[in-house]
Amino acid sequence: MSLTAERYLNLIRGGAASLGGRRQEINDLNVFPIPDGDTGDNMYMTIEAGTHAAGATLDEMAEAVSSLMLLGARGNSGVILSRIFAGMSKGFKGLKEADAAAFTAAMKAGVEEAYHAVSQPVEGTILTVLREGVDAAAGSDSLEEFFDLWIAGMDLSLQHTPELLDVLKKAGVVDSGGAGLLCIAEGMREALHSRFTESVIPSEASVSPAPKVDFSAFTEDSVLEFGYCTEFLLRLQRSKVDLDRFDETVIRDWLATQGDSLVFFRDGSIIKVHVHTMDPGAVLSHCREWGEFLTIKVENMTLQHHENHMDQRFKRSRKPLGVVVVASGKGLCDNFREMGADAVIEGGQTMNPSVERFLEAFDQVEAETILVFPNNSNIILTARQAATLYKDACIEVIPTHTLGEGYYALANLDPELPMEELKQALTEAAASVTTGLVSQAIRDTHEAKCGEYIGFSGKDILTAGAERADVAARLATSLKAGEKDILVIFTGASVPASEGEQLYARLEKAFPTTEVILREGGQPVYDYLLVMC
């Protein structure tokens, strides 16, 4: 069997379907006993983005999968996953199909690309699992054999990850990224022989929220100038056409007479259409001759045009410096905006934004240089990937690892400084911050029982107890809040205002030479976020 474009897409879909069913399992492989694991979600959303690819030859398909996944990548594991497929795409270059040897070569290119994705590759992670798996499968005579050996090799490697990484050993889990990849590989193996035709329909996860539309751009007196952007998925109906012999170019040719900007492709019995037309009603009625609609989206292009027009206008007067931050929790997002962030990407530990989301934010900010504060170790790589893909502005990622680091760094943003000095000042400001977090344990550990609260900083659990405010107070003490100038308390979504105020009063008394500030953060998962500098 050789790997064709269609088979390759099926592998991706099979991998996505397999991980989709087990993403929570992967999320739960969390080194911290709190509900903030997201590796499964991140990897799923990344590979899922690749399932919408189209291409006639293997290399075209692999390239489409790769570029969609690069855009859809979320979290470190998602970015690494997207780079595996980017490497494979390079390996397939010029190939219409691939045999076992070509596939092995492409996988090796995938390994290499994945290692390049991170500045300091760590063993005991998805990288090790991938590499050892591919090594085990090298020399396979068939694709079937490759997948069998690859999966067996990865499984073995995965079981060894705790020996390579202390944090895994301590938490009693295997590496979540590696586990996610194994899960994907298993789905791919299954898909070698089966066929997925349904996943051409965009899943809920991949549908981006509707942009805000300014309805005032089309008033009672407006004249329809640009028509309607019309998109739909049409399922060809057996009762209406002969499915086996139907030539979809009939539809394409007819649509071409109805408008412009036509994008058209067929996947099994599903036809995907995008067309700009003055009369969407006529298009929709006519297309029902061949099938029924699965989804329909029609938008007045004057509104879209208005938005683009606005963009153009802003582009001409772009400001020199813009700021994009990632934050979660209404209060925190508002605080960041007040501090001068031009765009706040909602996201964080349990909801990593995709590369695409970053690109949208960069567009929105309209600045010559954009500073990005990812505010999470697991989002820095995504931000960097977005930065390399974005061409309309100079993007500088300040590698802030926590919300606290980003928050304080932003307070030190002096737009008058030359960029290199500014980057250094911001990075130094971020490095001077100590962040403490309080969250509820969801399983028993050495330090805390399930249901108790743990106070931690970085990877160290410093205190635990039944009362979260007590835990927060002890955490502040063990992080030497009394020796800092500032302690900002952000209360989480589940903390009532009165509890926060009591903690504030208590800490203000405990640390008289430190300025204690109480802010409503509204962040999920973490009951308290303590920022000290």
Partner: protein
């Protein structure tokens, strides 16, 4: 006969103005398109109520008074052929004095016997307050207009004022401070440190991490630049932060011995530009 004027941007209250014989020119501010003239539209300034309003998110604006208003203020003393001295807030911060100049030019043409002089305190609020009081003291002591003007020539630059504010949105909106980073006291505790420059402008001189450090900075600045402080008032102005002001006063006396310290409520018009919880120390200095 010497007649003295000052304006409400110098923090002088009507009671104190009356004690010195100052006539008070009211500088307005507006909230939600409603303009208020301090001590014309109200008798006593309720600083707490005013700054609380700002804390709740209100952003007032300030406006310049017109030529006609200046004419009304000065015409009687011009007509009487008096000597007129106006001790006012910084010319570099406003365009209101262009209107005044026009009014004065008209009045001078109409009443050539009168004499008009002004002293620019090159500052606003507490620093102007200190200078207005010193000028008032000189008038009380029977000094002539020329003696007072010559005093001002060297002494105005010897009043220094350093202050910090909590929330920069007020400054941002007014655009009256140069060189500000995006520091936000209420959000992160990093406060801009600002001083009143020789040119009569507010200039950022750095930031302080946490209020305790900002307070220590003001106290240290007094030690560094203070000159003959025993024989001058130390004025601590605040925008509804009496406790912080008192604590700074205590720190000053602890470090430099007992002083003549006065606590001053920053007037609402100037306070509209710096917002609540700001504190500044004004003292007699080697230079600004």
């Amino acid at each position: 006969m010497l007649k003295i004027y000052t304006d409400t941007d110098t923090d002088i209250t009507p009671a104190l103005a009356a004690e010195y014989g100052y006539k008070l020119i009211s500088m307005p501010y507006s909230i939600d398109a409603q303009t208020t003239y301090p001590y014309v539209d109200f008798k006593t300034f309720d600083a707490h109520a005013f700054y609380d309003k700002l804390r709740s998110g209100v952003l007032p604006t300030t406006s310049a008074i017109s030529k006609e208003q200046y004419l009304n203020y000065f015409i009687r003393d011009f007509a009487a052929g008096n000597e007129i001295l106006y001790v006012h807030f910084s010319r570099a911060m406003t365009n209101t004095f262009d209107a005044m100049d026009q009014a004065i030019a008209e009045l001078k043409a109409q009443y050539p016997a009168a004499r008009f002089e002004d002293i620019d305190t090159k500052g606003i609020t507490t620093i102007s307050y200190a200078i207005v009081r010193e000028v008032g003291d000189l008038v009380k002591a029977g000094k002539t207009l020329d003696e007072i003007l010559s005093w001002a020539q060297t002494e105005v630059d010897k009043f220094a004022m350093y202050f910090f504010a909590d929330d920069l949105k007020f400054f941002r909106r007014s655009g009256r401070v140069s060189g500000l980073a995006a520091t936000m006291g209420t959000l992160i505790g990093v406060r801009p440190l600002i001083h009143m420059s020789q040119e009569g402008k507010m200039v950022s001189v750095g930031t302080a991490k946490g209020r305790p450090k900002a307070m220590a900075y003001l106290v240290d600045k007094l030690g560094e630049l203070g000159d003959d402080i025993q024989n001058h008032r130390i004025c601590i102005g605040h925008t509804d932060a009496p406790e912080i002001a008192k604590e700074i006063g205590r720190m000053i006396e602890e470090k430099y011995g007992p002083q003549q310290i006065e606590y001053v409520d920053v007037n609402p018009t100037a306070g509209s530009h710096c917002g609540p919880n700001g504190v500044g120390v004004c003292f007699h200095a080697k230079h600004r």
